[in-house]
């Protein structure tokens, strides 16, 4: 699904954000991209959605080397790659429904498809009853769900999430992670950049760790902290989440604190 081959990204001719990264990601995998602030997580996400072009190397996404993709084809790549960000990026004057519908409308999907798909996805993210609300009438967690719904409504092959829980409290983050996990189980490949130790440790998915632009660890069912103690020492910008490291093993993430997003009955929806 995704293959990085010797990828480097240098900003302004001097800042090396990614150094010679090579990795392969299978369809349906869930990847945590971890590392301290400035280690290149966001850059890698931006490279995968062709917001940036690599300085060097090849990036294969769904069979195409997007490093070489002509500009006019980028919109078509974006249709198979959903994106979610820390700041939600919702349109403040549009309702929840309209925000999600927007993603279908602007790629020319017919009205019939919009009115059919949007309620479905809103139900999936647990916001069916809040479709007519404006973003400012929602909590942060709910806003992030709208943004996930928007990224997913077009059924992308890949979902890229750059610190999707970065603005949310731990309890709310749990709900978002359950949702991403559920989307992953529909077959969507998920790549999530985070420096949230608790989430990574509780989910036990494949972890790719970056350090100053280099992939220093690629471990299946990994935890946030690698074997090297140096890793933890360089992570200066972790959220106020350090205390949850102390209660490891309590699996805080698995217990939904917020309203239940995933009803067992409709797990295969979408």
């Amino acid at each position: 699904m995704i293959r990085l081959q010797g990828v480097s990204k240098v900003y302004d001719g001097s800042t090396v954000a990614i150094r010679d990264a090579t990795a392969g990601i299978q369809k349906g995998e869930f990847i945590f991209l971890v590392g301290p602030s400035g280690s290149g997580k966001s850059t890698l996400i931006r490279l995968l959605m062709r917001e940036e072009k690599p300085t060097d190397g090849e990036i294969w996404v769904a069979g195409r080397n997007i490093a070489e993709l002509p500009d006019w084809k980028v919109p078509y790549l974006r249709r198979s790659v959903g994106t979610v960000f820390q700041d939600f990026k919702l349109l403040p004057n549009k309702t929840v429904f309209q925000n999600v519908a927007f993603a279908l409308e602007v790629i020319g999907r017919p009205r019939g498809m919009v009115v059919q798909q949007v309620p479905k996805v809103l139900k999936l993210v647990g916001l069916a009853s809040k479709a007519e609300r404006l973003p400012r009438q929602l909590s942060g967690g709910e806003q992030q769900r709208v943004s996930i719904a928007r990224a997913f409504v077009n059924r992308p092959l890949i979902l890229l999430a750059d610190e999707p829980t970065g603005n949310l409290d731990p309890a709310t983050s749990v709900g978002i992670m359950r949702l991403l996990d559920r989307i992953n189980r529909t077959g969507t490949t998920v790549v999530m950049a985070t420096h949230d130790h608790a989430i990574v440790d509780a989910m036990r998915r494949r972890v790719i760790q970056l350090e100053r632009g280099r992939i220093v660890r690629d471990e299946p069912r990994g935890v946030y902290e690698g074997p090297s103690p140096a890793t933890a020492a360089t992570d200066l910008d972790g959220p106020a989440f350090v205390e949850s490291n102390g209660q490891q093993g309590a699996e805080p993430v698995v217990e939904p604190v917020e309203d239940a997003v995933v009803a067992p009955g409709d797990a295969d929806e979408g």
Partner: protein, 290 residues
């Protein structure tokens, strides 16, 4: 992409910056009005030039006498020493001249009776100082119906029309450039107002043309509205002008077909100004969207 979507988005853009948009439309209007009027004045000048050929400064219209009488008059005028040459233009020639002048207005040509075309003697002077005296002397000849003189009035008017013509084109082009800049500004403002939406459109894979078309249409509408106003104002303004002001000697008639064809050209200019303006406005955005 649905037309209603594009026009709807363009209309929203236009409404959002009413003042700026009106300014751009005004700029297009003024520029194209100048251009349109320059084209009309040019046509008026061309028509008049047909009669007031080089050196001819006086025309004596003759009554409906016979050719012999007319020849007599012409010969007499030719014999005056103040006169360089006196040129006889008979009814038939006058008719031909009239037809040529209004070749693009067959309706008008059809309406006029060839027999009603007056013969004339056209006079070139050896010395323009004698102008007034010759005009008076011509007027006193029997068989002369009336005398018109190019004198200063005509010369000035023709000169003015040439100046107006060149000046109008130069001004029209200069103002046209500023109109393009103003249109590009309205488009840039609209893009700025929608930058959030645009960035999300790009995020979810809207094609570049889907993003750009409403802005192109916005500029196009500004250019076309400005152009249409210029044509309307030019057309009715000109008609009002010639029916309320009599320049006498100068032939100010320009046929509707001329006004229409040049009006369409002016409208096309408006569309081009609008398209160029929005492309200039979109340029920065185009560069951003790698």
């Amino acid at each position: 992409m649905r037309a209603e979507y594009v026009v709807g988005e363009a209309a929203t853009n236009l409404r959002r910056n009413v003042l700026l948009v009106l300014g751009a439309i005004l700029a297009v209007f003024v520029s194209l009005f100048m251009t349109y009027m320059a084209l009309v004045v040019n046509e008026v000048g061309r028509n008049s030039a047909a009669r007031w050929q080089e050196g001819i400064t006086i025309i004596a219209w003759l009554d409906d006498g016979d050719l012999a009488g007319h020849t007599l008059i012409t010969n007499e005028v030719n014999s005056w020493e103040e006169v360089e040459r006196a040129l006889y233009v008979g009814k038939a020639e006058a008719w031909q001249e009239f037809q040529a002048m209004f070749a693009d207005n067959p309706a008008l040509v059809e309406e006029v009776d060839p027999a009603a075309m007056p013969a004339s003697v056209r006079v070139e002077l050896t010395d323009n100082e004698t102008h007034t005296a010759v005009v008076a002397r011509l007027g006193s000849i029997g068989g002369v119906d009336g005398v018109v003189e190019a004198s200063d009035a005509v010369e000035d008017t023709l000169e003015a029309s040439r100046l107006l013509n060149t000046g109008g084109i130069v001004l029209g082009v200069a103002l046209g450039l500023s109109a393009v800049v103003m249109i590009s500004n309205t488009v840039r403002m609209a893009i700025y107002a929608r930058r959030e939406e645009i960035s999300i459109m790009k995020l979810v894979g809207a094609s570049n043309w889907f993003v750009r078309t409403p802005f192109l249409v916005e500029g196009l509408i500004e250019g076309l509205v400005g152009g249409a106003l210029a044509v309307l104002a030019g057309w009715f303004g000109y008609r009002w002008f010639i029916s309320n002001l009599d320049l006498g000697i100068i032939d100010t008639q320009v046929p509707d077909s001329f006004l229409l064809s040049r009006g369409l050209i002016v409208l096309a200019f408006g569309a081009v100004a609008g398209a160029v303006g929005s492309l200039v406005g979109l340029r920065r955005y185009l560069q951003e969207s790698r």
